[in-house]
Symmetry: C2
């Protein structure tokens, strides 16, 4: 009744939000074709298959994928074996793949070898910290991300590399980023040439917002994320920031 | 390995986020008790039961409930009959109920009558626009929200009354609100004594953020939400705001 003729209710590629439903029903559209984007996660590493190391990253990624509105597909674990990786991907058709582990600088890193032999590497290695070893390629026409098996590195890669690329690739609209400005309560340092994602806590004092960088000793330190409200992103040209700087923080969801 | 003894990973009442999973796994917690909060939605109105009016609000609310992380329960439609309402609620145990329709100022408004007769009315009627007829009460120890059956009013009530009350009631932590400041590109007016939720669009021009109030002719006008990026909230003491005011906009998710 209130929707005018010619009014565009939803664009192709846009995510359906709750309020689109009454608008579609008002114009007598009660079914629409939707594309559920399947994102498969494969963890690689003999140590995971043998159970010597706990796979904490895969369940986090599957949960992140669902949180971001995609359909997670658990591809389990694979040995460091490019043909096993290939077989698992072939047997489980997905729209996007994420492979964890085996993406370091060494020669025997099998995710990278898999992409190099059977697919195409678009990029490998980024000047970001954590998550330097992030790579991206194509296998069988499908985008494949190769990322660290460490949970914090995988989280940073997902939120800051994988999701932005998917968003751009699928033309996803209406995905807002939440940011807040505050006063840095302690100096932070950075290595020139590296873009750093510093986990921070936000607090209020005397009606002002303060940003506290969390002390981090390694990219496996998931507790730094548990306590964080967001990231402060230090540019590759920055040597760091003094206490008292006004900074922008990207809130984590 | 990196989680120190005594470190609190997750509080009771906190929502589980993807990064809690690796942290819990690291300390060998692989199952935890979770409370899936069931929110039941019942739409009332003879006109809905007879199919004379399309029920566009109920599927939107069910989708909103899921989007906000709760478990939606479809309680269908009921006639304007307080005993039918009671029977449906008794047969479908939920943690929270939302009843749409029958909450207006007239004597024959059955949601209100239902609460008055079989439960307790905590409040009924708010000086907000849209969604003046919002009410809240308790039936059988369970919170019951009674809201308008019009989709925009129901949406505003859900986001600005129901969810904040649930958040407060359950002590839900870490739910951030997204806000942005911008320049109002057209004057808006308000009626003293009423808190108004004005749907607005946000756009950028010459590196500045502008806020455009959408023209709205009635609270059933769902197209005003389709086009909106957020709300501008006008306080009950405000007569309105002139063009050029710096305003804060609450982004819709």
């Amino acid at each position: 009744e209130d929707i005018k003729i010619g009014k565009e209710i939803i664009k192709s590629g846009q995510r359906i939000k709750p309020w689109h439903i009454p608008a579609l029903l008002e114009v007598d559209v009660d079914t629409i074709r939707v594309w559920k984007i399947k994102v498969g996660v494969l963890s690689t590493g003999d140590e995971l298959v043998q159970g010597r190391v706990k796979n904490t990253t895969q369940p986090m990624l599957l949960s992140l994928i669902r949180e971001y509105g995609f359909e997670p597909v658990n591809l389990g674990v694979s040995n460091d074996d490019i043909d096993e990786i290939r077989r698992i991907l072939d047997e489980n058709p997905c729209d996007i793949y994420i492979i964890t582990g085996g993406t370091g600088p060494s020669e025997k890193d099998e995710s990278k070898q898999f992409l190099a032999k059977y697919g195409t590497i678009v990029f490998h290695g980024l000047n970001i910290r954590p998550s330097r070893t992030t790579g991206f390629g194509v296998y069988n026409g499908k985008p494949v991300f190769i990322i660290s098996g460490l949970p914090v590195a995988a989280l940073i890669a997902f939120e800051n590399v994988i999701f932005p690329i998917i968003k751009c690739w699928l033309n996803l609209e209406g995905e807002k980023e939440c940011k807040v400005n505050g006063i840095l309560d302690r100096a932070v340092t950075n290595i020139i040439g590296v873009k750093s994602f510093v986990r921070v806590k936000i607090y209020e004092k005397e009606a002002q917002i303060f940003v506290e960088p969390l002390k981090v000793t390694g990219s496996g330190v998931i507790s730094s994320v548990i306590d964080a409200d967001g990231y402060l992103i230090l540019d590759e040209n920055s040597e760091g920031l003094p206490e008292g700087s006004i900074v922008e923080v990207k809130l984590i969801r």
